[in-house]
Subunit: 335 residues, 2 copies
């Protein structure tokens, strides 16, 4: 800040132009790596140095219509899945000079609306929606209209807008293969604990029931809406209610960790008397004992791809297309 007449004066390209004895356009050109004569370049650099000049991205955004800001909508950054997604997306974006604005929506419609409006008001260049829950925005035409011509990328749930691409992970197949693995191992009483009831959650259930159906086994599904305690509590119920139980599959690692805790508490040997398979294959899998076998749904890869597609859209690349990734069962000790 310059002090002039006792007031803080912002350092702008005018300040630099004056000091470097040139015009603001030349300074602007220098800032945007366009051709500037070496001599003037040096003078400009000195001036910038002297005043600690930072170009004002707001003003730039106003004229270029690009703020280099990308909004990332997640349900809850506290959950490892979203935290990881946000991390990898941010890393890719910031490497390419974009900024990430993370929005915690709690999955609630009103909050989503608020953040979409907010994103629009600050002219984000695009929005990345992480999680199948955002597919329900399709039912709200007012929102869809608003973002119709905005570059959007979704993971696990496409939006009906003109410029939306999606990175999908085949959740159903992931759970299907995990279930088949258990069946082939000889398990016959495989129960499922479902958390939440979004698109992704129900796809997982489908994979589970499909595998059981193929072997004429009966699906048993317990539900919870408590991400941290649900696995534990439902497993306790399961142990109490079900006469037969030799495996538990869940839609999240965390739920599985709770399940393991409940089994151990009841002196049931995990991985021997009862198998447990989680979903995500997060870093926490190796912290549980026994280590959690889990479906790896490729969060890192999916998140990076989501970021890359967004960048490609913004850089005007064509030949873009949505993508479907296949999960992979990571076998550890619990199954």
């Amino acid at each position: 800040m310059l002090k002039e007449k006792g007031v803080n004066m912002a350092v702008t390209i005018y300040t630099i132009a004056k000091e470097a004895n040139t015009s603001i356009s030349t300074v602007s050109r220098y800032l945007n790596n366009k051709n500037v004569r070496p001599q003037t370049k040096i003078r400009i650099e000195k001036a910038i140095e002297k005043y600690h000049f930072q170009p004002n991205a707001i003003a730039k955004g106003l004229v270029t219509k690009s703020t280099k800001n990308i909004a990332v909508l997640v349900v809850d950054i506290r959950l490892p899945h979203y935290a990881n997604a946000a991390y990898f997306i941010d890393r890719e974006l910031s490497q390419k000079g974009y900024r990430t604005i993370i929005c915690n929506t709690s999955g609630e419609l009103e909050v989503c609306k608020k953040y979409v409006d907010s994103a629009l008001q600050i002219n984000v260049d695009g929005i990345i929606f992480v999680g199948s829950i955002f597919a329900k925005l399709n039912e709200h035409q007012d929102i869809i209209d608003k973002i119709d011509d905005l570059p959007c990328v979704t993971t696990n749930g496409r939006l009906n807008t003109s410029r939306c691409y999606s990175i999908d992970v085949d959740d159903q197949n992931g759970i299907y293969n995990a279930t088949k693995y258990l069946i082939e191992k000889g398990r016959r009483n495989i129960k499922y604990i479902q958390y939440s009831d979004n698109l992704s959650a129900s796809n997982k259930v489908k994979g589970y029931t499909r595998a059981l159906d193929e072997h004429n086994l009966k699906p048993v599904i317990y539900q919870t809406n408590d991400i941290f305690n649900g696995g534990y509590l439902e497993t306790l119920k399961l142990i109490e209610n079900e006469e037969q139980l030799d495996a538990i599959i869940t839609g999240e690692d965390i739920t599985s960790m709770g399940a393991i805790r409940a089994l151990l508490e009841k002196n049931i040997l995990v991985g021997k008397e009862c198998d447990v398979i989680g979903f995500n294959s997060s870093d926490y899998c190796q912290l549980s004992f026994p280590a959690l076998t889990a479906v790896d749904n490729k969060i890192e890869e999916a998140s990076k791809k989501a970021a890359h597609i967004m960048i490609d859209i913004l850089e005007g690349k064509d030949n873009l297309s949505s993508l479907k990734l296949q999960p992979e069962l990571k076998i550890r000790e619990s199954a």
Copy 2:
């Protein structure tokens, strides 16, 4: 967007003014809740409705110098501590109409610099630094100069700038009390696993050694830089190296979870033969078996307070002051 001559035309206050048959100043006044005659108010509202008008916050920011954006610098959003902090800060800020821009710095100086510059360029209203690691920015006068007159709030590490406030949690005392608890329980061979080497980490170590010193016990510290596997690996070493071992304290819940895993693997009864105490008291504590006893360092409270102080600074409140919170030992099953 309006279509005019085949080009997308932005809907601006001009569009609204024309439609409502008034001037842009009046529209602007309406937008900022200033006095407008009821009749014109209605016409403006209809126009806004008709065109789905969203005021451009970028343009507003250019003139008001306030973007309502707050940058939040963390080390790594994937770690529960930072994820929680970011979550609670964001919730408080967004309730008050601010936006949160989360920046993952990996704790590296160059990345910090980059994000600080970026924050300055987009005219954030303030920066919140989460984690003691940012205290090392004090050694870099160029950075301090840049943000000297920008509202800043830090958690666990003050910056030497004119408008910086800090929310500190007494890490040292937290670990001190945990250690004392173990000593009073009769433990005599209490080891410590330290992760990372920032201010906060060394404060914790101080608390540990202080408590042991008071009882003439010998401190034994193992170090790791691997947040997810460190606890496990160092505990294995501990078991191998130390003839005596009846308790382990760590600076993070995650490290403790790894320690528990290692102990169980070696058939050591956790909570009986060997106690374990973690730090954070995160949701994961109740997922481990036995449930992890841990120092609750009040992340939620600290984060909320950090956000509130930031808001208070921005709203021009005075009588602001930094704050020190006391942690609290949450006893569960592992100690």
